[in-house]
């Protein structure tokens, strides 16, 4: 059974159908991608998966349990973590404080624990700190830990966001256009990092992406979306060869230059 199953997912905004009967699966331990041109409904679909939108119809199962109707934080508690397309960090806080937020869903102390500073609370604080530091180490930004996030470069802010998601010890990581705004070198690092997520931490990765070169290199299975509908599915090679995909990205003319760009 697949780790996550999406069945007949539809999302309408008034008269606009953003996602139309979308079905796909994410296998455990895979790196799966959802791609499509601008406005294809990728982000709408993504927001349905993470509980930020409630789909108009259809169902989403994670480990056989339905996700539709759950609040975003409840989905996080199932160890399904997301990042945002345009980095959403806690801008006025330090990198370390940001990464500590990842541990929120795997810790439990509340008001009384904080006020009385109980033994359990101090132990948990220590664990949260160690966990955050090890995530920073994994991403390779330990030296930035005391910097306030809003003073960091965009590339580094992205890395903080990955570290933050990692701190929640996710089993499924949902990346919303992780390569947006990164330069060539940072993209190479990202590809390496996504592979390390799976190889070293055993995390299943699902990403939606605009950048074809990245998706082709890193993912094993790709679902292609256009105008909210699934138009193709398969390995990178299969998808690349699919005339429908080429049309979706480049218009209906069979443009040689365009197919070269796809590769």
């Amino acid at each position: 059974m697949a780790l996550m199953e999406v069945k007949d997912l539809s999302m309408r905004f008034g008269g606009i159908i953003a996602v139309d009967d979308l079905s796909f699966e994410v296998e455990e331990g895979s790196i799966t991608a959802l791609i499509g041109p601008n406005g294809a409904g990728k982000t709408s679909a993504f927001n349905c998966l993470t509980g930020f939108y409630r789909p108009t119809s259809g169902s989403i199962y994670y480990k056989g349990e339905p996700l539709v109707g759950l609040k975003p934080y409840q989905i996080t508690y199932k160890k399904v973590l997301r990042t945002f397309q345009n980095v959403r960090l806690f801008k006025n806080m330090t990198v370390l404080e940001n990464v500590k937020s990842g541990a929120h869903s795997i810790s439990s102390q509340f008001v009384l624990g904080a006020l009385l500073r109980t033994k359990a609370q101090r132990k948990e604080e220590k664990e949260i700190l160690e966990n955050a530091l090890s995530c920073l180490e994994f991403i390779g930004i330990s030296d930035l830990k005391d910097k306030v996030v809003k003073n960091l470069s965009y590339g580094n802010q992205r890395r903080v966001e990955w570290a933050r998601a990692l701190a929640a010890k996710p089993e499924l990581l949902l990346l919303d256009e992780p390569a947006a705004g990164l330069n060539a070198e940072e993209k190479e690092n990202l590809i390496d990092l996504i592979r390390r997520f799976r190889e070293e931490l055993g995390i299943t990765v699902f990403l939606i992406e605009h950048d074809m070169s990245l998706v082709m290199k890193v993912s094993e299975k790709i679902t292609v979306l256009n105008f909210g509908k699934k138009i193709a599915e398969g390995t990178p090679a299969e998808v690349q060869a699919n005339p429908l995909v080429i049309d979706a990205y480049l218009g209906t003319d069979d443009d040689k230059e365009g197919s070269a760009w796809l590769k």
Binding site: F90, G102, H104
Partner: protein, 336 residues
Amino acid sequence: MEKQKSKFIVNSKKLGFFGDVVEKCYVLLDNKKVKWMVFAAILALAILFPLISTNYWISVMQNAMFFMLLALGLNIIVGYTGICNFGFAAHFAIGAYVTAILIRTFEWNFWLTLPISLVASIIVACIVAGPTLRLRSDYLAIVTLGFGEIVRITARNLQITGAASGLSGISRPELFGIHLTTISHWYYVFLALVVLYIIISNRIKNSRFGRALEYIREDEDAAMAMGVNTAKFKLFAFIVGAVMGGLAGSFFTVRMGAISPQSFQFIMSANILLAVVLGGMGKIPGVLIGAAFIAIFPELFRDIPFIGTARMLFFGILLVVVMIKRPQGLWPERRR
């Protein structure tokens, strides 16, 4: 060396008026030892103050400390969580009236009224915040504003709260066999409370709960994506702040020996909010400075001829200048 100097000038320009002083303080206070020494020195000074001062100034300082309690309570709601609250005086009125009624009408011991005051604060906070916290902050401003007025006007019209003239003749409590009657006694009681509230604020700030509140303030969606049940945490922030305000109100009652709806006007809520914003939202020393500023400044002007009668005008002008020059507050969160 040369380079460092020019860097500093650029820095202080960016930070604006008073900013370089604060920045220097931050650098000094980074050292844990210095931090504790400064803290100890301020505490020692505060303890010795009544011995070297007049009763008038002791009572001004005690009033300033009362403001600090309220401001620290509101700081949990406004400063940490970023929830708007224009009716904080209502929470402090709840505590004050609960204690006053229990002592006057039912002849309870003051210390026994505190748990009741706490429970009442929690219940009222739930009633106000439960249905309204999902509102956007500007709507919430109006709701809390209305709530503040509702509480005041209700107190003005009920028999049990003594209507417009309020309740008087509330007996002073005993503590460790000392009957708390003189101004110095109350000075020390409030000093102890301020220290307690600082510890509470500090512990919350450095906890999972407090960090979650700050995540909500910074970005609610992202906080939710990290697993923060934002509705629950906002409600609890509101409750903690309301309880801190309510207990401060209980102590206010027995300190004054009498309360009336006059004490809980909108201007009170506004002043507490002002203390938080002026000092630097979310920052404990900032909030303390802000509260002291609000309470002490009008008194400083009082004895100066000509200005004395128009001191609130000068106070207002000064506030405007401070907010223009330092919109982030007197002692804001440090930026690196």
